[in-house]
């Protein structure tokens, strides 16, 4: 212990470590009524790191070639010691990332933390959401199984509904008329190079916004103001005098949430990995044989069902685009300062209505 203290002192004399700790950790005060939902951001950071690490490990043995991709994944899953574990962690982790991201966004919506001055936090977060969908979609093709091949065929095909440029856009996305080796090449580059770099950059921007605006106060609990008191005349950091310190108090909450997450995540990895894999995931891609009942991943089921219920694909696509745009621009549309959802019955109805609609469409898509 004494040694650690001496090392800390040594560091402090040179780079002013104590000042940073005082400012960013022990003196970084958070609202007194902060709740567990605020730790989901830390959980997401851990998930993203884990995806990067497991992804790099998979890269050691994965071969991005249409002839060899499926075989290399089979080799990782069956021959390499613990290859199955690393691959399952990556595959299950991607689903978990989407699920936790949705929870993070729902809690932000419910507590109305997106309101000004936090429009940029919401926008960067929303962009991260679409990028995570993109990285999931591109990664889905890489094992080159029947499931990944045909799911990608269906997913890329929906762009054909866009007028004029649609058919060419589909061909551009695929790099060829149909999904094939050219598609694997570009999806691989996007999945391991482009999208992770952009995600990392946006995470930086998201955290920067968070640090500059300060943590939002939850709009409920005893003796708290529930409105935003931000005046658009000048920049103001939202500080929380007398609040609870980030370190050690909230850091321990983060670690608790991360541990709970790991328990759930590992339970899926070890006991129910086949929640994610249909038998088609273990048959190599065959461009001449469409399997029956091809379905997208669970988080795309609502989009899939929306496309199906509208008479024209263009209409279905437009409705989705409108919904996504509405969500992205919500902080500019919902301008009332009141943040307590229980004082905004219309908002509350829309929140639960929208969520139930999404769940309903997903379930319908699953069984249709």
């Amino acid at each position: 212990m004494a040694l650690i203290k001496r090392l800390y002192n040594w560091l402090d004399l040179r780079i002013g470590a104590k000042e940073i700790v005082e400012q960013e950790l022990t003196g970084y005060l958070l609202p007194k009524n902060i709740n567990e939902w605020y730790s989901l951001g830390s959980v997401l950071l851990v998930i993203f790191t884990l995806q990067v690490v497991t992804g790099l490990l998979l890269l050691v043995y994965y071969v991005p070639d249409a002839e060899k991709a499926f075989k290399s994944v089979t080799y990782i899953m069956n021959e390499l010691p613990y290859g199955w574990l690393i691959r399952l962690c990556h595959a299950v982790g991607s689903n978990m990332m989407v699920a936790v991201l949705i929870m993070h966004m729902l809690s932000t919506l419910f507590m109305k933390s997106y309101k000004s001055p936090r429009e940029l936090n919401w926008l960067t977060g929303f962009m991260l959401f679409t990028l995570v969908q993109g990285i999931s979609l591109t990664g889905y093709l890489l094992p080159w199984s029947q499931l990944s091949f045909w799911a990608t065929t269906v997913a890329t095909n929906s762009a054909a509904a866009i007028p004029v440029v649609g058919p060419y856009l589909v061909e551009f996305l695929r790099g060829s008329k149909l999904v094939g080796p050219a598609t694997l090449g570009r999806f691989f580059a996007l999945h391991v190079g482009v999208i992770p770099a952009v995600i990392a950059g946006l995470i930086g921007a998201h955290l920067f916004c968070l640090k500059r605006t300060g943590i939002s106060t939850p709009p409920f609990g005893a003796n708290t103001e529930t409105g935003t008191h931000w005046s658009p005349e000048h920049y103001r950091y939202e500080s929380h005098p007398g609040g609870i310190p980030f370190f050690p108090n909230y850091a321990l909450q983060d670690l608790t949430s991360i541990s709970v997450y790991f328990a759930v995540f590992l339970a899926v990895v070890f006991f129910a990995p086949n929640l994610l894999f249909t038998p088609d995931a273990f048959v190599p891609a065959n461009a001449f044989q469409t399997p029956a009942h091809i379905k997208p991943e669970w988080y795309f089921l609502a989009n899939y069902q929306t496309l199906k219920i509208f008479p024209s694909e263009l209409l279905g696509l437009s409705v989705q685009a409108a919904a996504m745009t509405f969500l992205a621009l919500l902080p500019f549309i919902d301008r009332s300062p009141e943040r307590n959802p229980f004082k905004r019955p219309l908002f509350l109805a829309c929140f639960f209505g929208g969520f139930l609609l999404w769940v309903g469409l997903s379930v319908w898509g699953h069984y249709s």
Binding site: E79, L266, F270, P279, A281, F282, V283
Partner: protein, 272 residues
Amino acid sequence: MMMRIKFPRTLLATAAVLLGVGLFCGSARAEQPETVCIQCHGSLPDRLGAPVKLWRTSVHAENGISCNACHGGDPKDAADAMNRSRGFLGAPKEADIPAFCGRCHPGVLKDYLASAHGRALGKGGPTCVTCHTNHAVQRASLTIINEKTCSRCHSFERARVIRDAMQQTEGSIVSIDRRIKTYQSQGVDTERLGKSLFAVRNRFHSLFHEVSVTKVQGESAQINGELAKLDRDLKVIEETRAKRKVVGGIVVAGALILAILFHLLKKTYDEK
């Protein structure tokens, strides 16, 4: 010129169908456009229409083997579909039946011709369709050897001994096949196991046309040995998976313990 363009396409379709059969073992039904044979005969009465209905229930239909695969002719040209110049063969005479089926099943033909059944061909002995029926032919299994079918020609005694010798083997082939398929659908690489089972099954099936009791009993014993080896390999997979579940339990419990410890430590700071 027209034929030249058409030919590769049919070849491709056939190749795709064969590939599909090989990969999915009949789990996926091959979709094919209706041939003119079926369009016409499907609506004809009695003797001319019955084969279509029977065929629809057959293993041939399941694998996309249509009328023309056996009977020849042109399935795309209604006017000349049954023209001899287009390769139409019609129905074979009784003595020609084994050769007719043997075009696609040469191994079985050889086994059959070498057996007592085949040696009696043309002398009142049975042909393929006697036991397998013609249009409604099913995937062959041991149930074909039964008192009703066999005693049409001779007593069931010897046939029963043969069937009983093969019964246990058939049962373990079916169960090992099911286990391999289950693991395959869960991501286990079963290629090697599948191939050895395929070889064992073929060896076993070549016994189906053998009517010598001692030979059937001797071969069955060897095949059972091979199957026992496969069974051991599958047991190893089972044990590995069981071990992973145990490790998984420990790991999940560990994560929960961490969560509890972190939570308790947090509470010591909250109480301040």
